[in-house]
Symmetry: C2
Subunit: 152 residues, 2 copies
DNA sequence: TATTGTTATACTCTATAACTATA
DNA sequence: TATAGTTATAGAGTATAACAATA
């Protein structure tokens, strides 16, 4: 009748999610490494692929990172010639970020790596299982009002 | 007929797991902060709760961390008087780590925080849903031979 | 030599806060 | 003053590698 007083690590669903997520993410990071980018850089490049000309502070809001973190991230991406900073004429405090030609060319290749990584870890699940898990995760995001794009 | 060439972030199950896992883990970290420990420290303390007198290199193997990382971790835990380092008599290269009285008293309180955190994020799911997700994760761990205990 | 634990270095991401330039 | 972007600092985590002590 007495519940165990001290639950173990493996009794928590959060433990299992973190366990798998860490490995999946690290495997993805190793794949991206061959292209010279990190997971955070991939997330930003992918965002610019759809919405070019975003301002750093907008990105900070979308991705749940601080402006300082975005500043360092864009430093690295600019040094790799994957994005371009442009000052706004109207308000010189604002910048807009956009992909360079080589940045835009790279994104589909990175997306293919993401596809391959997902297939590697979740390919054995049925489509129904994958959808059920994804839906459960989306529900949790909705219920808790998460605003960040994960970058780890 | 043509598949989209450049898949988006949200098309990958790995993205959703990382998204939710990061938030769940950060929420847990904030709860642990009130007790002055990190998630990595919690995982080590919980391991010692079951298997006292582990050697740092054994822990490194179990948790998938380097010996250097364990060394820093045990430095902090010893400074907080939660664990004790003891040199082995037989082979002076070996140490054994064990919980102090206050360390042992703390673990059940941390476990309660973990229970509460899990309930907060996954409590709305049915037992069947939770078990299905946990089982899917365990299967992935088994298939890929993961060896690390997640500490982020 | 091989192994244990420690230390040093470097990098990523996180967070806070001070700083500049502009409005 | 308020805001955008930068920079500095500090901490936790990762990884590699050199190191001393011991076997």
């Amino acid at each position: 009748m007495a519940k165990p007083q001290t639950s173990g690590l493996e009794t928590h669903l959060g433990y299992w999610l973190r366990y798998v997520s860490n490995h999946v993410s690290h495997a993805f990071a190793r794949k991206l490494e061959a292209r010279g980018v990190t997971v955070a850089e991939w997330a930003l490049l992918r965002a610019l692929f759809d919405h070019d000309a975003l301002a750093p502070s907008e990105i900070a809001g979308n991705m749940g990172m601080t402006r300082g973190a975005i500043s360092k991230l864009t430093d690295r991406l600019e040094a790799k010639a994957l994005i371009l900073r442009t000052q706004s004429r109207d308000d010189k405090r604002w910048q807009t970020l956009a992909l360079t030609a080589s940045g835009r060319a790279l994104v589909p290749k990175l997306a293919a790596l993401a596809d391959r990584n997902d297939e590697e870890f979740f390919g054995h699940l049925t489509a129904t299982e994958r959808q059920a898990i994804a839906e459960a995760m989306r529900t949790i995001v909705r219920r808790h009002g998460f605003k960040n794009i994960p970058t780890e």
